[in-house]
């Protein structure tokens, strides 16, 4: 009985340790990754970055080059045409 009890305690402890260093560890790692990448702080940083890029864009003489403007224009025209066709 005594030896059985001691062995059970050891097995229980090893089970907990095994669970912790496998399953718990993965959960903690994932949680950490998620909270680091999608944290409030990171979203704020992203927002700030977008704002500052927009400001830089406003202050530039030419923000979109002629070639890019042509492509975007053509692309938007194409979308509008397709949407209009769908409405007919």
């Amino acid at each position: 009985m005594k030896i059985f009890f001691y062995k059970s305690i050891l097995v229980f402890f090893l089970f907990l340790a095994g669970f912790h260093y496998s399953f718990n560890y993965v959960v903690k790692f994932t949680k950490n990754k998620v909270s680091n990448n999608f944290s409030k702080e990171n979203i704020e940083v992203l927002k700030d970055k977008i704002k500052s890029e927009m400001k830089t864009g406003i202050n530039k003489d030419v923000f979109i080059s002629k070639e890019d403007a042509k492509i975007i224009n053509g692309f938007l025209d194409k979308i509008i045409t397709d949407l209009n066709q769908a409405n007919k």
Partner: protein
């Protein structure tokens, strides 16, 4: 009556130590600042006193507490029902003292609590000393343990703040009575053990491990010494009195004991605050702490030799236990986990430490501000340090060399601790090991309790000649709570404007932040402010002051 001084030498040393400690405490306890949670604890005390007065019909006290609750309550406090799970052990008697002795000045109430808290800690040190004396039967080693217990800088600094060191003290009483009740059939010890385990659970729910450990221990003892009847009656007595004391000392349970008790577990698992902690020059979330978090904090903030001795003592006992475990065989003569009553105490301390440590690791307990929640580990740290010194004689066979080495370590440990305590006064609770570089020391959370606010107001703001000074706060520390620690006249001079820096004359800053300050600029100092002062203790920046240079 003639007193033989030689025979009474040890008693005189002890008396001298305690008298000196009490004297120093009485002379210096007002140097410590007011901490940010004092207001809540005062509210908690009056809230429960009011509740009990209502039940027992003490109308006078009920009316006074109602007035006090309204006076204390302000916008910085959540409703007390959010926190009413906290223990009444210290707050309620303090509230009663406040009323009975008619203490009107809030600052005096807080300082009374500080000194009472320290006295409880000092009393627990005597119980620790007694445990060491039972274990080692050596006055010098036990006395060294006592001195280290009292002078470990972080613990001493916190002992005035009636939070985590209060739990340490109550746990120490529980351990003492556990040891006493295990080897005695005296009912007094079992009842006292159940009382202190109930109070420990009342203070910190994870202390529920104490009764669990007690069952485990009684089972193991039964294997070797039989005596089932006596042990079962001991267990039953313990459990009934434990439940009785738990109920009596926790009014929160009175209305619905079972469901309220289990609600606590829900509350802890769902309502724990998730914040960022400044750790190793980075911000980490307190719900995803790594397994070595506690261990690292202990190494960084405990006197280094004490930590080394602890590891040596701990591993000595741990490997001995492993050896004993392996040697347990059906027909073996030495067939148990410990030999003799002395080793039994080592076993209790070892299992307690392992149990508590892995409890925190396995359950991923969210900690705040370093390892303060587990300051009670210091009991074990010192116990195993002394254990190693006790066993060192097995390493050195030469008696004189042995004596010399122990005396050297003895002196070094005591002198170092006392030096560190003096050097960091009154910010001992922010102590870092002297082996660390200043950059490393400042790469971890500092003055969470806002103890520096008292110094800031009294030594800095008071010297400003303006009638009104507006102060911005570039930290998560609620600085306005520190106002209660200063005189009324000075309070009138100060207006706290929080993070509205454009209105501030000065900005108070420390490195406590609930968000990642590297990314969120909430606590960033505006460019029109420049640093004019910083308070440094032992190269640790307690706080910085920035002054408006151009509007």
């Amino acid at each position: 009556m003639i007193i033989d001084l030689n025979k009474q030498k040890n008693t005189i040393i002890l008396l001298f130590f305690y008298s000196l400690s009490i004297l120093i405490a009485l002379l210096t306890f007002q140097d410590f600042g007011i901490h940010i949670e004092e207001k809540y604890h005062r509210l908690n005390g009056h809230y429960w006193l009011n509740y009990i007065s209502k039940i027992f019909g003490f109308t006078g006290i009920q009316n006074i507490t109602e007035i006090k609750i309204n006076q204390i309550y302000d916008y910085t406090l959540s409703s007390v029902s959010t926190y009413n799970k906290y223990s009444i052990l210290f707050d309620l008697p303090a509230a009663l003292f406040e009323i009975l002795f008619k203490i009107e000045n809030v600052r005096d109430v807080y300082y009374l609590k500080h000194i009472l808290s320290f006295f409880i800690f000092l009393l627990s040190s005597f119980f620790f000393f007694k445990v060491l004396l039972i274990r080692y039967r050596n006055f010098n080693l036990s006395f060294l343990g006592l001195v280290l217990y009292v002078t470990t800088p972080r613990i001493l600094g916190d002992s005035f703040l009636y939070k985590d060191v209060l739990f340490l003290s109550i746990l120490m009483f529980a351990i003492y009575y556990l040891i006493k009740s295990i080897n005695s059939q005296n009912l007094k010890y079992i009842i006292l053990f159940s009382l202190f385990s109930a109070l420990s659970v009342n203070l910190r729910l994870f202390a529920i491990l104490i009764p669990i450990f007690f069952i485990f221990f009684i089972i193991i003892k039964n294997f070797d010494f039989g005596n089932y009847k006596k042990n079962i009656s001991k267990l039953l007595l313990y459990f009934f009195s434990f439940l009785f004391f738990l109920f009596i000392f926790w009014p929160y349970l009175w209305s619905d004991p079972i469901s309220n008790f289990f609600n606590l577990f829900n509350y802890i698992s769902n309502d724990g605050k998730i914040v960022k902690l400044f750790y190793n020059n980075d911000y980490i979330s307190n719900n995803t702490l790594h397994d070595t978090y506690i261990l690292n904090w202990i190494i960084l903030t405990s006197p280094f030799l004490q930590t080394i001795l602890f590891f040596l003592g701990f591993f000595y006992c741990f490997f001995r236990l492993i050896r004993r475990y392996i040697n347990i065989k059906k027909n073996s003569i030495h067939n148990n986990l410990w030999r003799g009553k002395q080793e039994e105490i080592d076993f209790i301390f070892l299992i307690f430490l392992i149990l508590f440590y892995f409890f925190f690791v396995f359950f991923n307990a969210p900690l705040y501000n370093g390892w303060r929640l587990v300051y009670f580990f210091n009991i074990f740290l010192i116990y195993f340090s002394i254990n190693f010194l006790f066993n060192i004689k097995k390493v050195f066979f030469n008696k004189n060399l042995n004596k010399l080495i122990i005396s050297f370590i003895f002196l070094f440990l005591m002198t170092y601790n006392i030096y560190a305590v003096i050097k960091t006064h009154p910010f001992q609770s922010l102590y870092f090991s002297s082996l660390l570089s200043p950059q490393m020391k400042n790469g971890f959370e500092g003055d969470y309790y806002g103890l520096g606010s008292k110094h800031f107001f009294e030594e800095f703001i008071q010297k400003d000649s303006r009638k009104v000074v507006k102060i911005g706060v570039a930290t998560h520390t609620p600085l306005q709570r520190g106002l209660e620690g200063i005189s009324k006249d000075l309070q009138k001079k100060i207006i706290i404007v929080g993070q509205e820096y454009d209105q501030a004359d000065y900005i108070f800053k420390n490195n406590i932040s609930e968000v990642n300050s590297k990314l969120i600029k909430k606590y960033q100092i505006p460019k029109n402010f420049s640093k004019i002062y910083e308070l440094k203790i032992d190269k640790i920046i307690i706080y910085e002051v920035y002054k408006l240079t151009k509007s």
